[in-house]
Amino acid sequence: MEPLSEVKDFLRIEKFPHIWCAGCGHGIILQSFLRAVIDAGIDKNDMVVVSGIGCSSRAVGYVDFDTLHTAHGRALPFATGIKMAKPELNVAILAGDGDIAAIGGNHFIHAARRNIDLTVVIFNNFNYGMTGGQSSPLTCLNAIAPTTPYGNIERPFDICSLAIAAGATYVARSTTYHALQLPELIANGIRHHGFSVIEVLTGCPTYYGKFNSLRSPSKMLEWQRDHSVNLKQYQMLSEDAKEGKFAIGLIHSAERPEYTDEYSKIIQKVQVVSQKEPR
């Protein structure tokens, strides 16, 4: 583990201290993301980082890459455009659970279906932090939010299972409590040639914590510790015991043709045909 000074080379130092609340887990994920970029040996100028709107999406304002802060839920269409135009670039998306699973859910499943070489880091704080803590499609069953004052009756997505079903070829999950393991999981997602998803359970002490008796930042980390289980152990649990628990680690990896590769093959094919048959 390198000291912080190495990570600081990748920050826009003049923008600090950042806007996130005291104990907000987003900063922990951001540090792990930067460690992952260093670990994967990516040059700053070969990385583009894209986000939508939300507290988590503010992350791109603090990192010294080419960055895009786009519209709520639309990070993936912008990222897809960048990757199509310049497939040689590494493109990463930093997204909130609301951003990627609610308004951006459709983009998410189709990017996974195409297996386009993007790396999505999901900052899952189980709510819409920026707008006051409303419930999201990942809010836990029975949890309290301003929109679910008597407890959430909607079953949340398991976003990792959703990603696998939709066709993602690298899927991992971790938490901010497990930050020592997180950079490697993200780095392998960056290295993977295909659609990579890393879900990170994180804390919003200001809203989710306040409404769900986890007011202090360290309580939120303890909650993550107590609700996550290594994939191998998780698979041995009974269905009842799995309820409310999160499998962590590498969940899925597969090889499948990547979208921009297939696209360039089509272009070559069409060029050959059009040379043979001039109009």
Binding site: M1, P3, L4, L11, A22, G27, A179
Partner: protein, 86 residues
């Protein structure tokens, strides 16, 4: 332990641990999870590095600080080189 063994033991040095006070938001994460209880807090929640000699450089405080406000210096170069031959 023989004298020779002692001379090859690296001297125990405390790592330099810094809290960037302008960035720290006093969330208490570094204090709560340090396995060696290196930190106390002042009356306002600012971490105080009171027992650096206990630090094992596990880096948990660095990597879990949401505000990029803690740093622990890297272990020094192999200290054996500096021990004069017996």
């Amino acid at each position: 332990m023989s004298e020779i063994d002692k001379s090859s033991d690296p001297p125990k040095t405390s790592p330099k641990i810094t809290i960037h006070e302008k960035w720290c938001k006093k969330c208490g994460i570094c204090v709560a999870f340090c396995p060696k209880k290196v930190f106390d807090t002042d009356d306002f929640g600012l971490p105080l590095v009171n027992r650096p000699e206990q630090c094992i450089r596990c880096m948990l405080c660095v990597i879990r600080c949401p505000d990029f406000a803690v740093d622990v210096e890297r272990a020094k170069e192999d200290p054996e080189k500096k021990v004069p031959p017996p």
